[in-house]
Symmetry: C2
Subunit: 232 residues, 2 copies
């Protein structure tokens, strides 16, 4: 794996201030692999052998307990996952599977920790990355503890809408079943939540959602930057 293969990886906040030679060393230890859809990449409880970076495709993070399963997050290019487990040399708390054919970069945990020890700038970048991830989960936790299912959906729609340009229309980025699980509800309940939002100007056609009037939707959703806005 040569450094020049991945300018996008290099440009990740996590790596950009790393020294060239340390980055090179890290990349030389890494593997680039393409996986088919629906392949389980990691399984919760297993030791964290690799840090994963999604180069192409999409990865779902999920967790199981008892007989239940819930989607914990989605990772799209260029994004990393399970950094915390790698740094702590602990077991994964979440499982991960591809939801499309995906190109993934795997960096052995040991090498990440070594680079973390050797490269001061990298250690600092990791702090900021971890702090962002941490705040992300806190926001999700607030979302689920402080809002009803319909409110969570309304706010999520507003977020996707803003992300996609805010021109009155948005495309759902994942299967509805996945979105339902992300939002902590069943697919049936998601479907009903969409119906509940119809009087608020939400029109669903497959994966396309049209928002004909933001005002009433925002009144219902009461978006809160301390929950809905992504950190810098």
């Amino acid at each position: 794996m040569r450094t020049t293969d991945f300018p996008q990886v290099r440009s990740l906040r996590l790596f950009e201030s790393m020294s060239e030679s340390n980055f090179e060393t890290l990349m030389q230890a890494a593997y680039l692999q393409t996986f088919p859809s629906q392949l389980e990449l990691i399984h919760e409880g297993d030791p964290a052998d690799f840090l994963y970076i999604v180069i192409e495709g999409c990865v779902e993070l999920y967790a199981r307990s008892n007989g239940r399963e819930s989607t914990m997050g989605m990772v799209r290019p260029i994004g990393t996952f399970i950094l915390a487990a790698v740094l702590k040399d602990a077991v994964y708390l979440m499982s991960a599977r591809t939801c499309q054919k995906s190109k993934i970069l795997l960096i052995p945990s040991e090498n990440v920790r070594e680079a973390f020890e050797k490269d001061e700038a990298f250690a600092r970048s990791i702090v900021l990355e971890l702090a962002s991830c941490y705040r992300g989960v806190v926001k999700e936790h607030k979302d689920i503890k402080l809002r009803t299912a319909v409110e969570r959906l309304a706010n999520r729609l507003l977020r996707y809408h803003a992300d996609q340009g805010g021109n009155g229309s948005l495309e759902l980025p994942y299967d509805k079943r996945t979105i339902a699980s992300l939002l902590g509800m069943t697919p049936e309940n998601l479907s009903r939540a969409f119906n509940t939002l119809k009087p608020y100007g939400v029109e669903v056609d497959g994966a396309v959602v049209k928002l004909s009037d933001l005002k009433p939707l925002e009144t219902l959703a009461k978006p809160n930057p301390l929950i809905d806005e992504r950190d810098a």
Copy 2:
């Protein structure tokens, strides 16, 4: 504030590998204050001016949205809170109030970030601390997404029981209303959940809970180390 004032602070994982002089500098910038019970220390949305360390007493982290409020966590000596906001120079995502008369050490954010820039060992400690906090929230998030209220209570009781020696009896560490909010339910529902657990050998008398038979309780709770166990 002199270094020798706080051997316990120095011994925090966060500070123990910091250089003596940097630690001294940090402590000299810090304030030690005693606050009465029920005082709001920080308010979500405000800029993170200080890193807080609980020396004595107890602090509740909570969040509000819409008209609702939920307890996000409790901090006891010697524990820090809102490290992530301080490092990112961002606003607090949670509010905090004392739940007893408490002695708190406040370190100006700027000084923490300065130490983080200057002291390599400190930066590394922060990474491990943040990674632990991150994994803690992920576990709470799994808890609430994968379990019913009764299951959450059962597992929490088992955790307190183990923490307190596992001799068949435990004391609830907080008000029932607080525990209810921590577990994501109403006080009424907590009361009913206790009743539901009665046939499983759970006997409640005020803040004292007796577990007469762990087997059936564990069968119901299905404790999962990837949710219930604290990280090292």
